[in-house]
Amino acid sequence: MLEVGLSHYLFVSAILFSLGIYGIVTRKNAVLVLMGVELVLNAANINFVAFSRFGNFGIGGQVYALFVIILAAAEAAIALAIVLNIYKTFANVNVDEISKLKE
């Protein structure tokens, strides 16, 4: 029977992180980019929890994971609000086309 160890968690976390990054980089839609960010954050959370469980660090890692979840929620709320506002202004949420602020 395969013992689930630290490396499995890290492996899942790395896949998740890579998918998140892939999502952030390849998607044009701002909402999908935000979803990528969520994946990256959750990859980090898995790392926190995994290291907390296998690394004799107490429960600090899990507490930080909770913080990150809260932060992610707040971030998602604000980011979506911004996206809504962008949509209202430009009728578009494609990140590479919204470059008015630069000019």
Binding site: I21, I24, V25, T26, V33, V95, D96, S99, K102
Partner: protein, 696 residues
Amino acid sequence: MSEVSLLSLSLIILFLPLIGFAVVIHFGKRFSKLYLFEVAIMGIALLLSIIIGYFKLTDFPIKDLVYSFNWIDFGNVPLIGEFKIELGIQIDNISTIMLFVVTLISFLVHIFSIAYMHGDKRFSRYFAYLGIFTFSMLGIVLTHNLLMMYIFWELVGLSSYLLIGFWYEKKSASDAGKKAFLVNRVGDIGMFIGILILFTHYKTFTFDTIYTQMAAGNIPFDSFSWLTAAGILIFMGAVGKSAQFPLHVWLPDAMEGPTPVSALIHAATMVAAGVYLISRIFVMLTADAMLFIAVVGAITSFVAATIALTQNDIKKVLAYSTVSQLGYMVMSLGVGAYVFAFFHLVTHAFFKAGLFLGSGSVIHAMHHEQDIREMGGLRKKLPITYSAFLIYTLAISGVPLFSGFLSKDGILAGTLVFGNLTGHWLIPILSFTVALLTAFYMFRLVIITFHGEPRNKEKYDHAHESPLAMTVPLIVLAVLSVFIWYTPNPINPDAGWFSAKWLQTPASVVPQETRFDFMQNDFSGAKYYSNEMIHSETYMHELHTLHYPAMILSILLGGLGILIAYLMYQWKKINPDKLAERFKPLYNFSLNKWYIDELYHYTFISGTIALSKILSWFDSNIIDGAVNGTAYITRVFANVSNLFDKYIVDGLVNFTAFISGFIGMSFRRFQSGKVQAYLVLVVFSVLILLLVFNPF
């Protein structure tokens, strides 16, 4: 009267006309009657000069009164030694007499001018100019050194320029002024060099100091040639001022000035300054210099007399007559007849001033007509002018009982003796010929102007005798042209006081071997000698023997000249036109003044113009070429430097900029503003870093 008071009086005389000039030139416009002030000043000066003359000639008959002061004292100058410049005045017999002559004629001319210049728009300025002229002339007369002589000499040149060109609106007048000034400069250069030769050697300008040293055997640079050169060079100043050949050309042109000015400048004062200068340097003249002077004088008198024969302008005849008579005086000094030269200077001053003023009176009466062919018969209209004019003419022609006879006779005898003793016979021959010519042309002038029938009826009818202010000076001068003022014996000037008592020949100071044989006086320290002592016994013997032949010859020649004039113009036995036709080349030669003006035009004037053209060409081609060449080379260098700047320096700078730009361009690509692209980069960078710094 004491010496000091005589000297102070003469200083007052000197500066009075200057004060007159300063006052009239500044306030003459505001106060129209101010010219009377100038006239009054000349009256005072005349009075003072009579006083000085009387006391000098009675109290100090053979003493020179000198007042001098150190103008600049340089102290002991290295390489030169003791060196100072003295200024001062000197009253001896000739300056006393000149003082009187100058002030008298100046005063008479002032009075004459009141009437003659009446209504001229620069009336008061005219009197101011007369003032400055008289001042300069008195300065020449009174000075005791060569420096002051030269300064006043130039002042006379200036004031004569102002007076000759007084009617400067007339081109001919302003040209004549310029001509007089420039021609005089030519002579003055020589005079200046002569003065500097003496100054370089003696370190002083004072006549007496120079002569004392010269008498002691100290001659310039120990060379007789330098001594002769100094004498001839200083004489050149006199050639210019006294209008001697070949610098006489200015004087006839100077007749463009107002006629009283001609009387003042060209009869009595300015032109006499040259003769006066020669009298001053007479003692330092060597035999060679004297011969040179005599020849120049003889040529001048002859040339001018021949020109005067054919002139038709009343003032031109008088002008050439003046040149001729000045030649006489110069020649007389050259042949050693010092006393008679000065005597003639005085008598000539009176009758020639009278002739000019008389011609002024005629011109005034004829409403500024000067051509004698338009006149004739004026005797009845201008009785006073005519009588005075006739007396002057008799005097200048050398008729006995008149002043000119006395002085001229002395000169003629002097030249005759000179010719006999030295063998230079040309000089007496020329001088006697001139005596004949003078009598002829002067009577020609009188007969054509005053006798016969009027040629221009209209002008004749309007003619009238001049006012009192013009006739009185004429009468005064006519009276002074009679013998009685100079000697009681009308045929022997030596019997009188003028040539025997007042005037004495100064002792020559040049070394014995450079004198003429007949000037071998035994110098014993005194300054003045009577003629008997100054000349050798042979000379005096010759003079006594030749005196009466010379006199008879001169009377005969003068009479002959007068007779020919009467035959030709009064009785019309000889037709002058036919004579002129027969000797046409000679007549034209004389009428055109020996073509001397033309000669100067084609030599000196054209030469100067050609030279300036050459210089101008040189300037515009050689000098300008060199300048332009330099500029061209500079420009080529500048172009090279410019190319270097443009391609090398600028290239480097631009290359730096290009590099920066290139780098900037390449990095710009990364700064796309696309967060996703950045993120890719970050991820790859982190991956690369992980690979490089492998922590595992």
